[in-house]
Structures are given as C-alpha cells and as structure tokens.
Amino acid sequence: MSVQKSLTPTFVPGALPHGTGALPRLWSGKAWAFLGAAALVLLVVVPVCNLLVPKDSVFHVSDYTVTLIGKIMCYAIVALAMDLIWGYTGILSLGHGLFFALGGYAMGMYLMRSIGRDGVYKSDLPDFMVFLDWKTYPWYWSFTDNFWYCALLVVLVPGVLAFVFGFFAFRSRIKGVYFSIITQALTYAFMLLFFRNDTGFGGNNGFTDFKRILGFPIAAPETRVAMFMVTGAALLGFLCLGRAIVQSKLGRVLTAIRDAETRVMFSGYNPVYFKLFIWTLSAVICGVAGALYVPQVGIINPSEMSPANSIEIAIWTAVGGRGTLIGPVIGAAAVNLGKSWFTQALPEYWLFALGLLFILVTLYLPRGIAGLWIKKRS
C-alpha cells in the first residue's frame, strides 16, 4: 500500500509561492473585497430586508429564508473545520458530527435551563427529567444556567474530547482509513449513549421547545436576526482564522504531513503535535457551529451524532473542493440547498442524488467546485 500511495498524483491546492522567505498576505485585494461584500450582505442587507422591508415588498427576506441561511452557515463552519483537518492535513474524520452535536448539547443545556417553569409540567426541571421522575439535576448539569459557563463548555467539551482521543490515536500512528473508522465508531458510541434516557440529555427527543436566550424570546424576529448575524460573523471570522493558519509555517507543515508524512518525520518534525493541534481546533470550531445551530433550529437530538451525518460533512467539503477553505463553504451551501429543494420537490430521489454526488465527485471532480474555477483561471 505504501508504494501505491506515492504513485498517486498529489495535487497541491492553494499552492504557495516558493522561494520567498516571507509568508504571503492573508488575502489578496480581490478576496478582501469579496469578504467585505459578504459581510455587508450577512450583517446588513439580510437583517434590514427581513426586519425593516415590508412583507409584501420584493426585497423582503422571509423568516424561513433567514433560518435556512443561518442553518447553512452553521454547516459551512463545520465544512470549514473539516477542510482544515481533511483538506489540508489529509486526515478524514468521520466523527465531526459528534463535536458539532456536543457543542449543540452544551448550548442546549443552557437553553433548557432558561425555559424555567414554562415547561409542560411547570417544574424547575426540564420536562424529560420530570418524566423520568428525577428530583434534582445530575451533577454535570451544575452551573449550566449560566450562559458563559455553557459557552465555555461549547469549546471545552469537544476540545478536550478531541484532544484526548487525538493524542492517543496520533501517538499510536493510527492513520488513513483506520482513523476514519474509529472516529466513526466514536460518534456511533456517543449516539447510543445519548439515545439512553438515563444519560440525562433527553434520550431520543433530545432538547427542544426552547423559550428564550439571554432573556430574549427565542422565536422573536429580532432575536433570530441577531443569531443570524452572530453566525455570519463567526463564519467570516473562522474563514480568516483558517486562512491565517494555512498561510503560516504551521499550515505548510500540515500540508506536508498530508502529502508525505514520513518525509516530514525524517526532516525532524514530530507530526503528532501538529496533527493534534489542528484536530482539536477543528473539533472546537465544530462545537461552536453546533452551539450556533441549536438556538436557530430549535432542536438537538442524538441523530445528529449518527455516522451518516458525519459522512455527509465530508461530502460538503469534497463537493466544494478540499484545501481551498472557501470551497467547502460553497459546497456546504450547495449540497444543503439541494437537499432542501429535493426533500420538498422529490423526496424519493434525494438519496439517489446524494449517493450519485458522492460517487461522481470522488471519481470526476476530486478538486470540487473550487477546482473547476481554479482550472478555468489557469
């Protein structure tokens, strides 16, 4: 197998200029302009068109559209995280849905606490705990009524889990499909765990029926638009962060690990820590995306952790184009818009379309949509 790998044509997306000691600028002028335009649309145009433009105007953006775009932006952040670990470092994770869901659950705990006594049973405890006849919160629910503590959990829980798991996996040099398979087993195990009622996270139904966030009613248009803007800002921020990483020396080592890990080792680098860093960061970004996703969609349940969901994340990234950062964002948007359209118009055929997408992209479009564009330019 080792020899086969070296026979593979390796492509170097986002190749950096060689020979110059200095690192290139973060973005080119054109890219800055594009980012500025995106920021304008997400942070000004959409909110204004949703809140201030009257409903019967052609420029009105409906609540449905706001929620849909908000949701897709969360997915785009996940795809971005996936690109850092898969596209740049060559590690295919089939467990990123887990980190996304864990971030979502951490935020969900806060949202459940802030329902207060407005639940069906008018109890201090969430309805599902009343249903289980629990009298007090289990220990791991302590302090979750504090928003900032939960925000910390959003980062810490996926981060620590990824760090510990990654430390052991990378140290034992588990790589390639083996790594993919055990990440899949990991998310599968967590899914089973969260499906249990006794785990204390609502079992099958997960968390839903949220009422308010930070004191604001969660269904109010203003709250929705605020969450939309936060998500948009997060997406653009993570895009810049990702770009800064892949442009740095660190990013170059990561790309080198992807293309020839053995050679990196022989050059005196220890790949373990580089991989561990990007893996943990990627998990944390996923957690944040999950936390942004839950209040907008209004539900989190263990099916987010199903292996199928995590594999779908990989296809968003592949469709957009690995190793391009902007590609996965486009890919996540394209696939999910397609999904929204199909599940309404031709629900029978969505799996056919998704399956074909997996096959065709891997066979004929290994560099994704972004690859097409790069090819056209060169």
Binding site: M1, F165, S172, G355
Partner: protein, 508 residues
C-alpha cells in the same frame, strides 16, 4: 352425590367434590364449572338443575327439564368452595389426553391449589410425560407442601426442591427464607438450613444454565458478525479499501432470499420448505454480481485513494438503500423460516437453543471452511494471498492483479450475500438492514487485523460473547458502548489488530 353437592353443608360438599373428581365422568366438569359460574339452582328439595339462558337441565340425569319449575333457589358458593371447585376441575382436566388442556390445568393449579389437591397432583405427576407440565406440577406440589402445617412434609418439600432447576423454585425457596418483621417466616431452623442448601444447589444449576445460554447466544451473535465481516476482511485485506457498501451487499443478499421465497411460494408451493437451499446460491450470486459491478465501475478507478473509496462506496450504499426502498417499499418484508428451522432443542430446563440459530452457526462454520479452503488450497486463493501481501511483487511475477481484485471483490460481496441470507432467517429484512451491521463488522475487521482468517474468527466470536455477557451485566446499549470503547483503546496498543502479517513497512 350431586344432591350432596347442592344441599349439604360445606364439609359434605367438599367430600362430594372429591368423590366426583375420581368418577372420571366428563359431565362432572360441566357441573363443577356451572357451580363456579353460579348457574346451579335447586327446585324443591330433591331436584338439582343447571340453568343457562332460561333452559334447565337436571344435573343428576342430564335430562332437559321443561318447563322451568316456579320455585328455584340459587346454590350459594362461597370463596372456599370456589377454590375447591377450581382445583377439582383442574385436577380433573389433568387426566385429559389433550396436552393443551393439561397445560392450562397445571397453570390454573399453580395459582390456587391447596392441600386437598395434593393426591390429585401426585397422581397426575406419576402419569405425566410432558416436561413442561411435569415441571409446573412438581413446583405446585412442592409449594403446596411448603404451606403445610406438618413439619415433616415441609422438610421433604424443601429437600425435593433441590432437584429442580427453574427460576420459580428459587423464588419459592427464597420465600421460605424470607423474614417478616425481623422474624423468619419459617420458624424451624432445620428446614431453613435445608432450604439454604437446596437454594444454593438450585442457584448453581441456574447459573450454569444461564452461562450456557449466554455463551450460546454469544456464539450465535459472533457467527453472524463473522459472516458479515468475513467478506469485508477479504476486500479490505486485499485492496486496503473500506467498502462502506458492504452492509448493503448483506441487505441485497437478504432481499434475494426474499425474492426466491416468493417465487417458490408462487410456483413451487410443494417445495416451499426447501427454498433456502436455492436461496443460498442465489444470494451469493446476486450480491457477488453487484459487488463485481461496483468494483468495475467505481472502486477500480479509486485504487490508491482509500479515503475517496470510502466516500464513493458510501454513496453507493445510499443508492442501494434507496433502490431497495423504491422496489420493495420502505417497510420490512416477511421472510418465513422453513418448517425444519423452527422450534429448538432444550439442553437444560429454561435453556432452549432455537434451530434457526444452531443452523446458522453451522452454516457460518461451513462458509468459513469453504473460504479457508478456497484461500489456501486453490490457485485463485494463492494469488489472492500473494496480492494481499505484496501487490507489486505479485504483479511482477505475472499475477494479473486487476482480475484478482475483481474476483476477490466478487467473493467478498458474495459472502456478504450469504450473511444476508442467514440474517433473513432470524431478523427483519428491510432497506436499513445493512446499516445496523456495518459498524460492528468494521470493528471485527479492525480488531482481528487483516490478511488472516484466524484474526477475523477470533475477533468475531470474542466480540459476540463479550457483548452478550456485558449485556447481562449492564444492558445492551452500555455493552455496545463498552465494546466500542474497548476497541478504540485496543487499537492504540495494536494498530494492526490481533493478527497482523509481519512485514517491513514504514506505513501501512
């Protein structure tokens, strides 16, 4: 006698019931039944009538009485009588030639027998040959004796219970040892000591039976995992690609079995019991063919890109699932067991091994033997092993590796089809069938390592048995999680699995 029953006081009535039971006249049952239901009335001071829907029958003669006498009195049946009547009816029924009737009667007795029924139960026990009924009766006999006021009877009962090996016996003996308000229910020390001894004997046997049952269900699960993982181990070992559509190939095999079953039902109903013999090769061929097509059209073009293969085969699996939904519907389909696979053998009381599971264990053994023979005794097997160990060298020595890839992939897929055929006999057949086995079969391959069948076999059986024992201890979900966590930790230590081919490789 009938008149005693209707007119006498309760002592006389009891005796009358006892006498009637021994008379072996079928009419007695209906009379006793009528008494329980309150349908027996007296007219004057001689006539006993069974009145039902305003029609009366003379209980003594069986003649219809028409017209109904004007003055009638209900025969009052108190609770004690009612119990005695029920017992009497049950013990009467115990001598019925119909097994179902006897079984129902034994169950009835278990709930409300008293000491009066002991002789009847003992008599029935002597004649009874059916193990289930016999077990019930023995238990009832002992539990009635335990309630006796006679110390010797109780002691004998406790001793007799030591021979039994059912869970109910344990409950009975625990009852003897129970405490109420700080005092023992059973005041006699010797009986309690005996009960302790009997209890430990029974518990020992129950535990043995329990362990035997768990080992068997573990082996049964293990062989299913083995069947599911065997094909995967071949394709993964050979080509280093993870075939995510493997589970769906299992599903295709199960649907092939379903189609064969339907064809037999429609065209050869006489030979329906033997449809499986035809379904086995069909499942192998259909899944194998699908596998070959997948290899030629998709996987072939992705060699050397294992991660992409993983994604592409996942796409294939989605398409196969949706295709089955479109063709056969989203609901599960019914696959019937042939008659010779239903039922089971009882190796101990409470431990019944279903034939379907036993046959699948044997079937998996047969498949394993065939695959082993194919890999070690044939030219194709030699080539497959050569390509698995060193593709370049094999190719350089003239092995046509693309052809070997195709055939081996077809073989692996065909084995998946066989797994599907076996699964259709014990579980539901639906489009999602494969999804539930895919993670498990990967775990088997990861644990067992590739390139050697032995690893797969040990890993499958080990996982199966471990899973069943953990399940008894912590429940099914936690057991599964524990196994997954164990595997994740395990491959930290041995990333190549239990049995790895040794070779000089920087990276594998």
């Amino acid at each position: 006698m009938v008149r005693d029953l209707a007119f006498g006081d309760s002592e006389v009535r009891s005796k009358a019931i006892g006498a009637l039971v021994t008379s072996a006249d079928p009419a007695v049952v209906s009379l006793l039944q009528a008494m329980i239901e309150g349908e027996v009335q007296t007219a004057g001071d001689r006539q006993v009538l069974i009145v039902r829907d305003d029609k009366a029958v003379d209980a003594a003669t069986g003649q219809a009485v028409d017209p109904l006498p004007e003055t009638r009195e209900d025969v009052v049946v108190n609770n004690r009588m009612r119990r005695e009547l029920a017992t009497a009816i049950a013990s009467f029924k115990l001598s019925s030639p119909d097994r179902a009737v006897r079984l129902a009667a034994a169950r009835e007795l278990q709930n409300n027998a008293d000491e009066d029924a002991l002789p009847a139960i003992a008599a029935a026990l002597a004649k009874e040959s059916d193990p289930e009924i016999k077990g019930l009766l023995t238990l009832t006999h002992a539990s009635v004796q335990l309630g006796s006021t006679d110390r010797a009877t109780r002691l004998a009962a406790v001793r007799a219970l030591a021979q039994s090996d059912t869970g109910a016996t344990k409950t009975l003996l625990l009852g003897v040892l129970a405490k109420k308000d700080g005092k023992f229910v059973e005041t006699d020390d010797e009986i309690r000591v005996e009960a302790e001894r009997s209890l430990s004997a029974v518990e020992g046997r129950l535990l043995k039976g329990d362990i035997a049952a768990r080992v068997f269900s573990g082996i049964s699960l293990g062989t299913i995992l083995l069947l599911a993982a065997l094909g995967l181990a071949i394709t993964y070992g050979l080509m280093g690609v993870i075939n995510m559509a493997h589970g769906e190939l299992i599903m295709v095999g199960a649907y092939a079995t379903y189609v064969v079953q339907n064809l037999f039902r429609q065209y050869l109903p006489g030979a329906f019991d033997w449809y499986l013999l035809f379904a086995i090769p069909m499942a192998f061929l259909v899944s194998g063919l699908v596998g070959v097509v997948l290899e030629r059209t998709v996987i072939r073009h992705l060699y050397g890109r294992p991660l992409e293969t993983l994604l592409a085969t996942w796409g294939l699996s989605l398409i196969l699932i949706q295709a089955m939904r479109t063709i056969f519907g989203a609901q599960n389909v019914q696959v019937e067991n042939p008659v010779w696979m239903s039922g089971g053998v009882e190796i101990m009381t409470n431990v019944v091994l279903p034939w379907s599971r036993i046959i699948i264990v044997a079937f998996a053994g047969g498949v394993l033997l065939l695959v082993w023979g194919l890999l070690t005794r044939t030219r194709l097997g030699l080539f497959v092993r050569a390509v698995t160990q060193n593709r370049q060298m094999a190719s350089a020595l003239g092995v046509r590796t693309p052809k070997i890839d195709m055939l081996a992939f077809g073989l692996g897929s065909g084995i998946a089809g066989l797994a599907g055929c076996a699964l259709s006999q014990i579980g539901n057949v639906g489009p999602d069938l494969g999804q539930s086995y895919i993670v498990d079969s990967f775990m088997v391959v990861v644990l067992g390592g590739v390139g050697q069948l032995a690893g797969t076999v040990y890993a499958a059986l080990g996982l199966g048995i471990a899973n069943k024992f953990l399940e008894a201890w912590q429940g099914a979900v936690l057991a599964k999680i524990a196994v997954l966590v164990f595997i994740i930790i395990f491959i930290q230590k041995r990333p190549q699995g239990l049995f790895a081919l040794k070779g000089r490789q920087v990276e594998a």
